[in-house]
Symmetry: C2
Subunit: 447 residues, 2 copies
């Protein structure tokens, strides 16, 4: 399981090896700067939340090639012996600057910069993007749900539809980072110390000849934090059965803490279920909902007054189903002391080592950002910080609770216009004069 | 790296442990059947391609709990000592039936059935769905691209935007299974023996002071299978530079096999680049395209006569961006000799152990499928086969090349109406009389 089992040096595109070999053969090992940034936001996103830095730094820390990997690379016939020997001693020895995880960011703003000998800085591209992109995508999606849920419980149910193991584990982390209450994924709970939540499946009910017996058996095995699933056959009848069973369970010291609805008209059903529970004196039993939940449904249910205390969210969270990818890139911005940029049609980048400054209004809400060259000191808050020097972390990565608290503070600074789920405002990110001048200079220099 | 590093027993939802404990405490360990199937197809899919069975069987083969995991589970305080001791000796001992990987399938058709003692059959739900769902999603997306590409080269470039490591590796496998030519992901090439492809990045060009020097350096490091990226500054000028450089490289025994375009109007640019190359006598140099490619763009480029010989496909493939999840489930269909079903609103399932029969027309094209109970033998082709008995594979999983060939034959049997990328026909899947009778019987029996 993550993170230590997966620092494979082969988790790259083939061209990373070919380019590294070419750089080494050409004697091009001077210092390069690459930055990772988003190009533009998809339609339903007004902001992104930086995530994945801890895993990215773990990757750089651990990056090395095993003998079996080197033997295999040699066997492909695509690389020279000198190059394979070079890989045997390969370690990442560069510097990294980054926005702290949980920081709200916008297009063109670098959330990570790698400064290292060119062959190293180039090589790490694939996995760095892979790690930063995914968690950022999930954290941004989760942040929207947290805004919509407005304090209600949110639990990640998404491992089964996540894109593989690592996606399930890292999605749990990114969602918790962005304000989720916890996860159903046991491995993620262990790995990242995230609160674990769980109810029961329909199959548990179906395996019994009657629903009440299923509730009894389940209650005995989970006397604490008992949540019963009531929609397998008839939701209202399920709620009545819970109401009738609760005194018997109470006699055994078992408290029903919640019921879960997973199908049907959740507004109507949650109201009816709430009534059944309240009439039985079960005001403390929470009504939880799951099944195709996303931030739009959460907002609609809240607006329609559905008495739902919490949501289990699966597919839409762990696949970020409406925007499963972010248009982002890791681009060379400087080599051998000279700023560089890509000018490809529609994909031009801002050159050089950059910093992002942010200003706030008198209520602490974000006003505007400025993208500028690193030397252009400003009086706003600088968002990009040094985190690794000469291949060593400058400090241990902050704990996930601290990152989560930082993300909550960041989201709290979002202006109202950016908190809307749809038709949100665009946030002003200005490009400084010195940065525009640098771009012009690069264009004049480049053939 | 996959597959042996990841059989963690903790890769489940918490409720799998709770339910297992409840089943054991209640003495409910009789034989259960669960089936995995899709509920309905998303708008842009006319069919799915079964994939992931090899990894699913690996999971069942390897499933066990490490001592450190058991200690951690015990430390949560949510489970009894007897249960933890039971887990220490836990192995999967059940039977599995499945459609072979590469088989085309439709909603309600089970692609996998687990028959095992209830606590086991329930427990494996999360990871089985996680593995089967993802590869199936990717294989179906890839199959659409293969149809659109109509013989052109297709290479997976998607690791960087895949949802983590396992997603990148398994997407490469699923895409190759469905007919892709190869992958850029080195780890996937090694793990699954998939042909590796690679070109060069814009940063390689940018790190040089001029583009031609960059081409020279790269050519020296990749004398075989040389593909040059020509859109960093000006695509047509890039093509002219390749044309002028080719004789010099030929003198060194280096053949340019392709050029890659990654931006701009690909119809216009590919035609202009083709002209430049042809005028220089470089008719054998292939024009490859990448950058936001999906099956709709491939079809459009082909329709508009763009002389593109192959595509690198990233994000849209490895995130299946237009349909990153499939509405699917793993449901209890029988327990202790009695068929079961879920009746939840909009989510009712067909009970019992099922088989799928398929009939073909005189040209070998698919005509219709029949979903029926296992005992109802029909003269069509049965799609579900035994693959594991008493926890042991009945045969080694077929090699990926064989699976790929099977998938190609399957896709070749699709009727024309199902091969369209948009507005495809619906395929007829009938539900048999005996299966309907069984569902009625279950409903009469269930409280």
């Amino acid at each position: 399981m993550l993170p230590r089992a997966t620092p494979s040096g082969l988790l790259v595109d083939l061209y990373q090896f070919t380019m590294m070999q070419a750089y080494l053969e050409a004697g091009m090992a001077e210092t390069a700067c690459f930055e990772f940034f988003a190009r533009k936001l998809p339609p339903n996103r007004a902001f992104y939340v930086a995530a994945g830095l801890e895993q990215a730094l773990d990757y750089l820390d651990d990056l090395a090639f095993e003998e079996a990997e080197l033997d295999w690379l040699a066997s492909t016939g695509e690389f020279g012996r000198d190059f394979i020997d070079h890989l045997a001693g390969f370690r990442f020895t560069g510097d990294v600057h980054a926005m702290p995880e949980g920081t709200v960011f916008f297009p063109d703003e670098p959330i990570l910069r790698v400064t290292a000998p060119l062959p190293q800085a180039q090589f790490v591209e694939t996995r760095l993007i892979n790690l930063l992109h995914f968690q950022t995508v999930i954290a941004a999606k989760a942040a929207r749900m947290v805004l919509a849920a407005d304090g209600r419980l949110l639990v990640d149910y998404g491992l089964r539809r996540a894109h593989g193991e690592e996606a399930g584990l890292l999605a749990a982390r990114a969602a918790y980072l962005a304000g989720f209450t916890g996860t159903a994924t046991v491995g993620a709970s262990r790995l990242f110390d995230i609160p674990a939540f769980g109810t029961m499946a329909h199959s548990f009910i179906q395996a019994h000849d009657d629903e009440v017996m299923a509730f009894r058996h389940f209650a005995r095995a989970r006397p604490q934090k008992l949540v019963l699933l009531i929609d397998t056959y008839d939701t209202i009848e399920g709620a009545r059965r819970v109401a009738r069973l609760a005194p018997e369970l109470a006699d055994q010291g078992i408290e029903v803490t919640g019921v879960r609805l997973d199908s049907g008209d959740l507004v109507e059903l949650s109201k009816a279920v709430r009534d059944v529970l309240d009439e039985a004196g079960l005001e403390n039993v929470r009504v939880l909902a799951s099944g195709g939940i996303d931030e739009v449904k959460i907002a609609r249910l809240a607006a329609e007054g559905a008495p739902i205390d919490g949501f289990g969210v699966g597919t839409s969270l762990t696949t970020a189903s409406d925007a499963p990818a972010l248009d982002c890139a890791y681009k060379l911005q400087e080599y051998a002391g000279l700023a560089r940029r890509k000018r490809s049609s529609g994909k031009a980048t801002w050159p050089g080592r950059k910093q992002v400054y942010r200003w706030f209004d008198e209520n602490g809400r974000m006003l505007r950002d400025l993208l500028t060259v690193e030397e252009d000191r400003q009086d706003g808050t600088a968002l990009v910080e040094p985190v690794m020097a000469a291949g060593e972390r400058l400090a241990p990565s902050p704990g996930l609770e601290d990152v989560r608290a930082h993300a909550a503070r960041q989201v709290a600074t979002l202006p109202e216009g950016l908190r809307r789920l749809e038709d949100a405002d665009a946030y002003p990110v200005e490009v400084s004069g010195p940065l525009r001048d640098l771009a012009d200079e690069v264009d004049r220099r480049t053939l």
